[in-house]
Amino acid sequence: MSRLSLRDCARFLLPFGLCFLVVAPVYPLTSFLSRIILNQVNVSAGKTLQVSGLIFSRPGKMILQEVFLEFPENRIFLADRGFVYYALSDLWKGDLVIRKAVMKNGHIDRWKKEIVQNIQQSLIAKQGIHQKRDEKVFDVPEYQNICFQNFAVKLPDLPGSKDAGILLLDFCLTASNSYGKCQGQVRYRGPIAEKSFAQKIFIQGVNFLADVEFLSGDLLINHADFSYKQFVFRGTGMIRDLAYQPNISIKFHSDPVRLDQMANLKQLSPQGGEISLTGELIGNLERIDFQSELSMPSVELNIDKDLLKLDNLTGRFRYQLPGNTLVVEQLSGIVDDETQFNLRGNVINIFSPRLDLRCDIFQRPDKRERSRKAKLILAAFFKGRWGKDGFLGQVDIVHDYSKDKQYRCRMKDLLFFPGRSSKSWDVKTHGVFFEELKREEKSSKVVQGFEFKTADLKFHTKGKTTWLDDFSMPGYGGVVLAKGAINFRNGLSRYFLQLNFENLDLKNVKLFDPLTCDISGIVSGSIEIKNQDVSVLRGTIAAQNFSLKNFAPLDKVSEFIGIDSLREVQGKNVIIDFELTDQKTLISRLDLDGDHVQLRSRFDVDQRPWLDGVVALSLPRASLEQSKIFKTLLSIARERDQLLDFVVHVSGFSTSLRTELIESNFRDKLKEQIGVKVQRYIEQKVNQAVEGP
């Protein structure tokens, strides 16, 4: 090799050699420095702060490995790695000033009863939420601050759920003396309920910003904002004794949110409707009460081209952390100006809801009579679980018929679940009870009840119309079938229900006013319930091989004739055609073919209740002769007919009926045989029996 080439080679290698000479001592130096600093940190912090490794990755940046931070009462903070950013200019001055710190994959533990665990980066990577990590590093240069990325908080396990919910926080804490500022984002990934209902959800983009101040152990929250999509909550309050026994008291309100800005309501095209929430968060970490009030003045929704108006929606809620119980103190509103609803009760464990709710439906008075109270039409009670498969539990529906009478439908083991097509539902019930209740001072007494073992119902909705597609309820050796529809339009509910029942073998069924009686037999019939301009209930009931008792007209006849055997009538057929409206009850036909009596009648009763009707009776002579008086009268009248007919006009208030014998051959024959005085005497005797004038 020539001298020249050797020199060239030396010139070429010189920079590398110089670099080696400069850099080679740096690693041992930095390593030495880091060990010194590390030991210094661990020694000075004692049990409070421990770091297993420290690397100077580049000027101005340190990497802390396995950071362990201990708080009072053995509460700890762990982080896999921490990045500490410092300014070299400060180092030359002899100060180590941390401009920014980033903790990665941290977790806290033993923080009271919360179970908080680290979530491995690999898990987070799999779930695909690390992609925006870099965007979440906040830089607040005017203060020293510490930032946390992917700070995972594992929520307590839901009973029966494999996966726990994970809160992932990206946030920065900025502190200056007693003043602090916290800003960041929260993401949640996990189930919202346990096994049957659990569905994994992923919520991201919950932003928060809080200005806080430390005042002798208390954390004063000057201002805290939380936002998620268009929902913004603003709060202020205090956490007392933050380090040992945190006691939270935060009042908040939401910015009004317009329903037309909510994406999931877009298909309903809401018009108007601003919803706002005010509330308070109080309690300690073991028992937090979340009280809130909701209000929305008015909104119009478009459901399948039907306009639904919702007014005065107000609600009062209380959420209790132990048991995850949501207490609905009141949720009420007015639908289409006419119908008012009021919901109250408890939702126990909202992640796997167990419902205990009552919903009252009121009919509001006419616009001209708005000073009057709304009338309770229906009260529905729900007790059961709401899961992935739908609702399973007990439902009671109570209808107040009058001041002292109620009707209740109790459905036990009811399963309510979505049907095959959209907006259709199926209901299956094991154990259906229809009961007539008599109201007493403090409770209600069951007057009569019907029990069916099963019932199947299919229905669907379109707009404001609900169609009852199919209903069948076998029982008592027969079956009850129904079809119908209910529609809310222009503030009025219009409904139509066709009910058919076939061959029900019933015992001692108490019929309704004015047909108050106990009837047994094989009962068939149909009932049509319709409400268009006026509500009408009309139908036909027929009973075969029947037995009838406690029927006032027959009791009267029995009293009048003096034959007790007429009090209970048995026979082949009884047919009742009736029509009930708000104004009047019309029994257009009551035909009864008994063994000892034949009856044809027609009568109506108005609201007062004034009854007016005509009854045609046929009684066998032999029956009448059981009475001594009638035996005498029959012999006086020289009556020979085997079947005696009477046509009677009945009129009067139902408690004081007046009876006029319109037609009777027997009466006419008797009249011919006896004088006026005897007639008066007989009539007087009869009237004494019924307290006449």
């Binding site: 007062r608 006009h649 009067g652 009876t659 009466r667 009539e683």
Partner: protein, 167 residues
């Protein structure tokens, strides 16, 4: 001249007769005087009378007098007081009929409905006739006849329809 006097006298008589015919409560001045005298004497007797039945008749006649002279306010008070002190009987029914007529004239629909419930609160049976008739002569000399039908009550006063009550 005599003819003119006859025509004037006949015209006056016709006019006064017509007025009396048109007025349902037409009572001759001499009749009113007679009733007034009876009313005064009945009021005197009322304080002295001890017989329950007679007291009942006197009280009814006093109330009846107020109605006759168109003092409906006092008549209503008198009939209401009368009802309070008596058990249900024929006089109560007549008192209710008077109150019904007063309320009907005043257009008090609710009161008439309540009175109907009281009037039709008795049950009875008619076997041989379409109605039952009861007569009563008051101390003022008024003849009442009450016809009970199953679906209405007709009350006649001195042979004329006084009131017809249907539910």
């Amino acid at each position: 001249m005599r003819k003119i006097l006859i025509v004037v006298c006949v015209s006056i008589l016709c006019l006064s007769g017509g007025c009396c015919f048109l007025s349902s409560n037409c009572v001759s001045s001499s009749g009113l005087d007679r009733d007034f005298e009876r009313f005064i004497s009945l009021r005197k007797k009322l304080s002295e009378e001890r017989n329950e039945r007679r007291i009942k008749n006197i009280e009814f006649a006093i109330a009846e007098y107020y109605f006759k002279i168109n003092d409906f306010v006092d008549a209503r008070l008198a009939f209401e007081d009368y009802k309070k002190n008596r058990l249900a009987d024929l006089h109560i029914l007549l008192a209710n009929c008077y109150l019904y007529k007063i309320a009907q004239t005043a257009g008090q629909a609710q009161i008439t409905e309540d009175l109907k419930k009281e009037i039709f609160n008795k049950q009875f049976v008619l076997l041989f006739d379409r109605y039952k008739s009861i007569k009563y002569k008051s101390l003022l000399g008024s003849q009442y006849e009450i016809l009970y039908f199953v679906d209405k009550i007709d009350v006649f006063l001195n042979g004329d329809v006084f009131v017809q009550i249907v539910p």
